[in-house]
């Protein structure tokens, strides 16, 4: 479903993604793990046509995001790491906007909007403006929106960040259900290792832009002689805290600005 060959992305002289190669099979739940600033979001942005790669080849559902962006866009759904809602619209309008953009027929759209907003417990707030929502509510709405159309592959960039265990559970069981019933491939990043261990069939770990390990959760534990994924992750990536220094794009922005002066 996703093929990555020697993918590199540079921002100026900063290498965000450094010559990575891996693949994700159809129908798989694949976790893409790594410390802050490791290159996870940059990689997802390249998959989803939001950034152009510097080097290397990517195929999503058999299409090249550089040469066939429209075909790629028809193939995936995404839940972004940072906010992507329209604050001035209501929850329902945000859902409706998304559904129309993705060509979900009206009956299905209305049915799914109700179903999804009930899952994330926002149905009774559907007519409130998003700017009145708390951070957690916005997050839940974004997840509901991302699941509104049923694509071939869904990218979830830290989907459950800042959510309580109840909501996380609801959301994951919905996603796993989608995966089983409709065969949707799931590609997600997270910092919750127990979450990755529980739901992911396979995992790749990226650090400093390079893939340093991949395999099933059990493989990774075996490789590192550890008993939990968290320990395996720490053994592979070290225990020092990463200074994020903003996202890769922000870095580029800052660099551009300095350059202009």
């Amino acid at each position: 479903m996703i093929e990555v060959k020697n993918l590199t992305k540079k921002f100026g002289d900063f290498v965000a993604v450094d010559d990575i190669t891996f693949s994700v099979n159809e129908g798989e739940i694949f976790a893409f793990l790594g410390p802050n600033g490791a290159g996870k979001t940059t990689t997802i942005k390249i998959f989803t046509t939001l950034l152009l790669p510097t080097n290397g080849q990517v195929l999503v559902n058999g299409f090249d995001p550089v040469k066939q962006p429209d075909d790629v866009r028809c193939s995936f759904g995404i839940i972004f790491q940072d906010q992507s809602l329209d604050d001035e619209l209501t929850a329902f309008e945000n859902m409706e906007f998304h559904g129309v953009l993705y060509g979900v027929p009206k009956d299905t759209r209305r049915k799914r909007i109700e179903e999804l907003l009930k899952i994330v417990e926002l149905w009774d707030r559907k007519d409130n403006l998003v700017k009145e929502f708390s951070g957690g509510m916005k997050r839940r709405l974004e997840i509901a929106r991302g699941l509104l159309h049923h694509p071939k592959v869904i990218f979830l960039d830290e989907p459950t960040l800042g959510l309580d265990p109840q909501t996380r559970n609801h959301i994951w069981s919905y996603i796993i259900d989608l995966n089983k019933k409709e065969g949707i491939t799931v590609f997600f990043t997270t910092h919750y290792m127990e979450e990755a261990e529980r739901v992911a069939g396979r995992i790749a770990i990226i650090d400093h832009g390079k893939i340093i390990a991949q395999g099933s959760p059990q493989d990774l534990k075996n490789q590192t002689n550890t008993t939990s994924l968290e320990d395996a992750f720490l053994a592979l990536t070290g225990k020092t805290i990463r200074d994020e220094g903003g996202t890769a794009v922000e870095r580029q922005r800052i660099r551009n600005r300095v350059w202009r002066r």
């Binding site: 152009l52 028809c74 809602l85 619209l89 309008e93 998304h98 403006l129």
Partner: protein, 252 residues
């Protein structure tokens, strides 16, 4: 095809809803045109009359209507930068829809808002003493207002798609709007201007917009309806194409 119409419609609807919900924006953008209309209209009116130009308000009102449109239209572009800043741009950019439909939807939304502002200024002008001679041609004036609105919204949106800096945008837009407005025949008759200045004026899209609106409302016309219409259509299509291209290159 039906799907594309729906996409353009939903993008348009979003823009209009946001405008409708922001009352301060609606009222704030009326201040400047009204000030121009009153201060210039009543200030220069007597001199204009003495010089044999006739009623200045009559001459000025179409220009100020065009001005309110160009300001609202160009500044609509800032929504692209807001959307980039607050993340919503990503949501539209990953959608499986052609880039021209995004450009067109956004443009039509902004243009609707700008045209509405123009209509409100037109109504205010009526209260101030503007008496259009040919009321029957108001619809023709509306057509020109819509064209001006579409062109300048597309122009502002195209510029915004290349900018990431929220502070820079208003500066650049002001820098562009002022010469466009002053060198358009909105404030003075183009007939009496000669030489290089006349050449500059005749390359300014707003000149044709002002000419068309004024011609329709008061019968005073310089370039002629056909020239006005043709020129505006050509530049509008060109800027929509450029804007679509720029949108396809946006990285977030």
């Amino acid at each position: 095809m039906k799907q594309l119409v729906r996409v353009v419609y939903i993008l348009w609807l979003r823009q209009v809803k946001r405008y409708y919900r922001s009352k301060p924006r609606m009222i704030g953008s009326l201040g400047q045109p009204v000030l121009f209309l009153v201060a210039l209209g009543f200030g220069f009116g007597p001199i204009y009359q003495k010089a044999g130009g006739g009623n200045y308000i009559e001459f000025l009102a179409p220009g100020i209507i065009a001005m309110s449109i160009i300001f609202t239209a160009m500044f609509t572009g800032i929504e692209v930068i807001y959307d980039r800043q607050f993340g919503f741009l990503k949501e539209t950019l990953v959608a499986p829809v052609p880039r021209w439909s995004i450009m067109l939807g956004r443009t039509l939304g902004g243009a609707t808002v700008a045209t509405l502002q123009g209509v409100i200024v037109f109504i205010i002008a009526l209260f101030i003493g503007f008496r259009p001679e040919i009321a029957a041609q108001s619809l023709l004036a509306l057509a020109f207002m819509i064209l001006v609105a579409i062109f300048f919204t597309a122009f502002g949106t195209a510029i915004a798609s290349r900018l990431e800096d929220m502070q820079a945008f208003p500066l650049i837009i002001n820098f562009l709007i002022m010469p466009l407005f002053f060198l358009s025949g909105a404030l003075f008759p183009v007939e009496t201007v000669t030489g290089a200045l006349h050449t500059v004026i005749s390359f300014n899209p707003l000149s044709y917009g002002v000419d068309g609106i004024r011609g329709a409302l008061t019968g005073q016309i310089h370039f002629g309806f056909t020239s006005d219409f043709t020129f505006l259509i050509i530049v509008t299509l060109a800027v929509l194409a450029i804007g679509t291209y720029l949108f396809s290159k946006v990285e977030v």
